[in-house]
Amino acid sequence: MAHQSGHGHGHASVATGHRKLADWIDVRVLRQDGPGQASYWERHRIPYEPEMNVISVLQRMAAQAKTVDGRAVAPVAWECNCLEEVCGACTMVINGRVRQSCSALVDRLLRENPGEIELQPMGKFPVVRDLVVDRGRLFRALERMKAWIPVDGYFDMGQGLRQSQSAQEEMYPLSECMSCGCCLEACPQYTKIELARAEGETDEAWQARVREAYDLGFAGAHAISQVMLFNAHPTGRNNASERLDALTDPGGIQDCGNAQNCVAVCPKRIPLTTSIGRAGRAATLHSFRSFFDR
């Protein structure tokens, strides 16, 4: 951001210098009242304030609950929690690009696209309402990949295994994955799976059916990267082959088309394509071994 030149009598210059970019912010939102229903665009207008992000825009819109032509509407639904880009909740498609709405700063968005901000829900997940989507499939992939350390238990067993600084430095970025889903939204091979709950279907039956459908779909870059994280850990390594089994099952690494979009949109700059490359080699080796060990 540009420095503001000091003016007047010793008026403090603000390092982040805020030039007022507009009086009003127009927001175009793609809304949907519920699963399976038609989506529609709606336009809202709120007063510009300095230092806003998309979250504060949505907060102002909720308090106002009116469209640009003054029609009272229900507030736009969206998901968020930490507002500092570590929880992964507030992912949406903003001005055509998938990202976290907390770190999407209005001044930058207006510079990219003067006049208005456009918000859409992620397209690869079923819409729950408005900007809220169901990312259950993403979390299911972590179960599929056994993304955990298989410890004996939680009693006091003394220290963990010693690890080198370089091993930690390799694992740490992978463990920063906050399951936001940006990599999946950007992936051409990751296609939407949306089921409709049947009339009178029990919770258990519905959940089992959803799991089954999800497990045939592509797991995606985040899950592949988690396999590499746990397989690199000195204890996690002990069930590496189970994870590689999962990775070579349908919906596993072979579905990756190497488009490399994932790494470009990851807000945490996780080296996803490095993980995918390594996973590919590990999976190939694993398949050979399994074949000859039969």
């Binding site: 806003m52 504060s56 639904a77 963990g160 740490y172």
Partner: protein, 659 residues
Amino acid sequence: MAGQRVMIVGGGLAGLSAAMKLAELGVDVDVMSLTPVKRSHSVCAQGGINSVNDQTRQLGDDEWKHLDDTVYGGDFLQHQPPVKEMAYWAPRVIELMDRLGVTFNRTAEGFLDRRRFGGTLYKRTAFAGATTGQQLLYALDEQVRRWKTEGKVRMFEFWDFLGPVLDDRGVCRGCVGQDLVSMEIRAFPADAVVLATGGCGLIFGRSTMSMACNGGAVSRAVRAGAKYANGEFVQVHPTAIPGADKLRLMSESARGEGGRVWVPRRPQDTRDPLNIPLEERCYFLEERYPKYGNLVPRDIATREIFNVCVNEGLSVEKDRQCVYLDLTHISRHELDRKLGGILEIYEKFQGVDPRSTPMKIFPAVHYSMGGLWVDYEKAADGGLRVGSARNHVTNIPGLYAIGECDYQYHGANRLGANSLLSCIFSGLIVAPGLVEWLAGRNDSTKDASESGRLFEQARQAHQERHDALLARSGGGENPYLIHQELGLVMTKAATVVRRNDQLAEAVQKTNELRERAQECSLSDTGRWTNQNVVFTKALVDMFPIALAILEGALARDESRGAHFKPDFSMPSLRATSPDEKRREAEQWCDDFEASTAQWLRTTIAEWDGNRIRLSYEAVDTSLIPPRPRLYGLVGAEVIEQVWKERQAGRAVPGAGTAH
């Protein structure tokens, strides 16, 4: 235990460690959470987690000193047995988390690296970059996911806790929850309910807390008769990045790694900070607290930053209060390795690189030391009896509280990197206690139809409240605007500096807002993913807790830890001659003893349906006798001298100064 279930509300560090431990002990667990548990507020914790370790031990540290630092830092307001137990478990807690795969930073030789945090002189803090909370939470999330695939844990994510279900003997028999997607309201029978729902920062409007930290679940327990303790003790973190939607934390680890706080000596000096010569900078923490420097306890750092801006007029900016937090003297590589995560946050949200430009920060509401009152059972060694059903139970049998939503460990002020510890520790220790509680529940073989009625009635009551809200006619108050007003009232009256006239006014205003909140109309009356009605309910439930904070602060005429009332503070010594100084110090110690006798007590707030009732309870200080907290006071050495002589004069081995 066959067929018995425990409901855990909240899936942060405390809730998940309890879930994982209970599953290991063979108990079936349900977890209810507003968000997918992986997105819980624990992810925001940055700096690290404390324990004594091999290195500090050889420098003279031990668990007792960790206990001492914690109670001294907390101004002696916490019961000491739970803190002792926590300090002694701390090394094992960290070893466990290491085994679970937390990517802790390593030394060159491969051991856990440690940094120094506020309120101690030892490097006790293990850390995983600057995202330690996130890394710890993920490790627990992974273990709980593992138990979920084995059918031992059921997850109810995107569910709101509406209240506990109590039977006619006042025992908690389960809870009522609401699905935030379908809006279904459902009763959950459980043999125990554990609240692990975190802090209540949203009551202050903007804070460092996440949007889920609205205090709603705790308030609903308080409405059902649970006691709320030490509500007035709210930690204001010294260093946060001001923002329109949130005040983002800038971790204490920035100072732990050598960050220095300063302001230009010339008010609102317009020069580039890097061009201001050293002698024209005021490193006010280092100047006033040479021993701890930038790592004084949080309440002190906060007050000093507040003071330098508000009273001394030395804020860096004219229109916005802030001071510099400067890391520019540290190498980029070192900063990236140890603080990468938080520096990226600053860069991302402020558009300025903190590796080359000093950050601008100001204090923000950060942590609730107060919370639900919980019990404990003291063991002969002065710690806790592990496996006692009394540990962490509220005054409602069968209703437990752990993590930030209880009041147990931090007294009047929390030390940095002790919260991750207390959250995980309380989760681990509540589990064996629950096993004992469950074992004692065999006599309660319930009449199925009777308990069926109990749950249906509870569900029905919540359904009616919900339907009535949806049926409100339009044109009433706007819940989002009332929330903003409440935040302003609370921030003005009940944060860094507190004055009785302001607090009394805030109580009145809060009561007015509470009345107005009853008249909220909804802008969404739909029955699907209605965030408007969920927010309105949370807002209405903020008032009992807001009033507990204000009333507690108004009544407490002293300064202790985070609760600072200048009108009732212990002054510095003014005299210059040694004799006169000595006399003043004697008087100071007399005053301190009188004040301790009156105020070293737990505030207990109860809600009678309409207002807060306060009472007080003695604090167990049997392990470490209270002593004055003298950070930065003029004449501290004389006071300390007098104090020590008095203590020596009346020393009775083993006896505390409990009143």
